[in-house]
Symmetry: none
Subunit: 227 residues, 4 copies
DNA sequence: GATGAATGAGCCTTCATTCAT
DNA sequence: CATGAATGAAGGCTCATTCAT
């Protein structure tokens, strides 16, 4: 749960990792705690004290590193989310294979990094708080949403050029590729406790990939791809 | 009293008719105001006083009709969203035509009722606040989300039976039909101010319909339908 | 329960005494209700609405007869308590018999009129609120407490003159005759629910009369010692 | 900031040492202030802000130590009254002398500890607010009232066994020994300002002791008791 | 005369923020 | 660096009081 962006090898167990405080790891620990709490309470409903407790410090300490609750929130968004996008871009640039395969790879990668970590909370939070933090919303939209869309748009363009995909409005198609992912990731976080049937991730992703690639494929040979 | 017609744009004195109306229109006026405010501030950040002001009453008045801020929030959700779903169900039951046409009809109807009205705020709010109101989340998920999914699932099943659609997991496919709509509707509300390029609703809907129907269509004749 | 001072023959049953409203009985009904509510909630904790409900009217109606909550409270004290004292005085003046018999009569009468009706609430209230209502306290102390003490003092004086009682400071002795009654009446109201053993009124009164008369009686050999 | 050294006991400006102390003396200071304020305003009429001001802190500080106004009230009762009772019990257990002497000792002690300190306010409050705090009333009645009665009952029993006192219902007699004290202590606090003649404590106590011991004494030798 | 919808001041309570230690 | 006691500005909620009907 305590994942921070680029620290994916954190051994999540660590029974009691004492005696390694007093480093400069503090800000990260605080951000990590903030992620967890903001994420499932929302901005206003989050108490600095909860963050402090979870980070193993006191309220006052937070102010050594962040000017205000708002500043902490912004730092959180800025520092946790961008690396994800960058990572996606890196994958795309070095990927060798068909556009369809790349599409599938990115879809699954997105879910792994966003859907399965506490990072889910970020888009959820941004949707909710965009109105209250206009500059942050602008930053987020430009640096994350648009960049993510562009990434996916590149994949689609690649597919069109390669004759794999039909010619479509690539930016719109990119949004349509991402939105089922973003929505599911958020809704799952929000409503998991309310889903008696659970949420079958594999089915959801497979069906999305299947329908989407079917939908966008050039129609002559009709490249089906199921599992 | 009401010295002047219905909306005293009067300039004069109007000594101090401390309060005006006094109807059972009040609850609805308050809910309407609550919709606006909750919707763009979130639950916790909303001040009862703002709702009151917008409804043209004072804080105290709200408590004549609702027990608490939370109760007002619940009433808001209950009274605004459920009818929408019911309306969709009515359309589906009386619809005459192909499954594809029904799909398109529902997609456009959803956007018209949710995307173009302030009701957008409701799902946005629910996503954000579900964690803080487990009971409400359960209600919403059962009465709105699931019901909406079932509605769409029925359409897909109809298409499969008619040979229009490939056999797929209908519930998952239903979620995938809805999620681009739900996400877009929310994101548009959240980020519209941040979109320099705006949001081209027509393209988005058309492309979704096109890709989705293409994706789910039985592949032999492959009935494409673009615009 | 609903007793109002000088209306002791009120038939407490009256299944539904409708259609006799709109008289000038209103103020009394309100005072009666106020007595009940003030009495077991205290002044500040009493809501006008509770009084109104119990009186079968609405909040607004109270203001037709009383200027404010405070005014109602004062009227309540003034109008309900004085008749009691007067009644006691009347008994004393017309009483034929020994001082000891008169003492006993007054003690039992006090309990009957104060201990067994909602009038108990008045001294209880006054003790509690004297600090918040100085003028009222002054009125009450002069018109009720002092007058009550004087009444009892007269009895004691009578006993001394008749040789029944030892010579004592009559005013102090009067207070000591009354205080066990006043305290018991109040404490019983306050704590009845907390007394698993209940409160044995007969024992309490009998023992008080016994001890007090024994204590004040001229002992033939009589080693009195006063100051 | 602190332009000057560490503890400017200086007279000069003292720019704004926003707050001072910071000890665990705080809870006691608050309780002490609460005693004063609750005591002469009653529970409901007391404003936390008044308590805070009197304790030299702000409203918020109270909540560092007590969960709510009610919790503060309970703490107040628990910490002030119960020790008094215990002290009385200690006296009785170690007392050497006649039951009459012990009776007198306890009567005077009660007055000294309750009548002459601000603790008077507690029983006064309890009488008034018992109805609003059933649980607290139960606690108080069991831990204070009953315990006090039992203490006095023991004394009376001792006197009976020793042949000093007539056989009486000891529990009732105990109540009658205490009630003039409790009532006087409360009434004096409530009405002192209304007593033009003042309240002669010595007379009151002496006369009570005299009458009571006279009343309960075995009658043959007629134990007089002087000073 | 009565009503009851509406008001608005005020209180309890919370919590981001500060700062002496 | 850290702490945590203290602050003080709000916000939710209540309720005595008013007044159009």
């Amino acid at each position: 749960m305590r994942t921070v962006a680029t620290r994916p090898k954190a051994s999540a167990k660590e029974p009691k990792p004492r005696w390694r405080r007093r480093k400069d790891a503090r800000p990260e620990e605080i951000i990590s705690a903030a992620l967890d709490v903001f994420t499932d309470r929302g901005f206003a409903a989050t108490k600095l004290e909860d963050i402090a407790r979870r980070a193993g410090v006191t309220k006052g300490t937070i102010y050594l590193y962040f000017d205000s609750k708002e500043a902490l929130f912004k730092a959180l968004v800025r520092q946790t989310i961008v690396p994800i996008i960058a990572q996606g871009e890196a994958i795309a640039q070095t990927f060798i294979g068909s556009a369809r395969e790349l599409f599938e790879r990115l879809v699954r990668e997105y879910w792994r990094l966003m859907g399965e970590t506490s990072l889910v909370g970020i888009p959820k939070l941004m949707m909710a708080e965009a109105g209250n933090f206009p500059e942050l919303a602008r930053f987020y939209y430009a640096e994350v949403v648009t960049r993510g869309h562009r990434l996916m748009a590149g994949v689609i363009e690649r597919g069109i050029k390669a004759g794999e995909f039909r010619p479509v409005n690539v930016m719109v198609a990119a949004k349509l590729a991402m939105s089922p992912l973003m929505h599911a990731v958020i809704a799952r976080k929000a409503f998991l406790a309310c889903m008696p049937e659970g949420f079958d991730v594999a089915s959801y992703l497979n069906t999305h990939i299947d329908l989407y690639l079917h939908g966008i494929a050039t129609t002559d040979r009709s490249a089906s791809r199921a599992r």
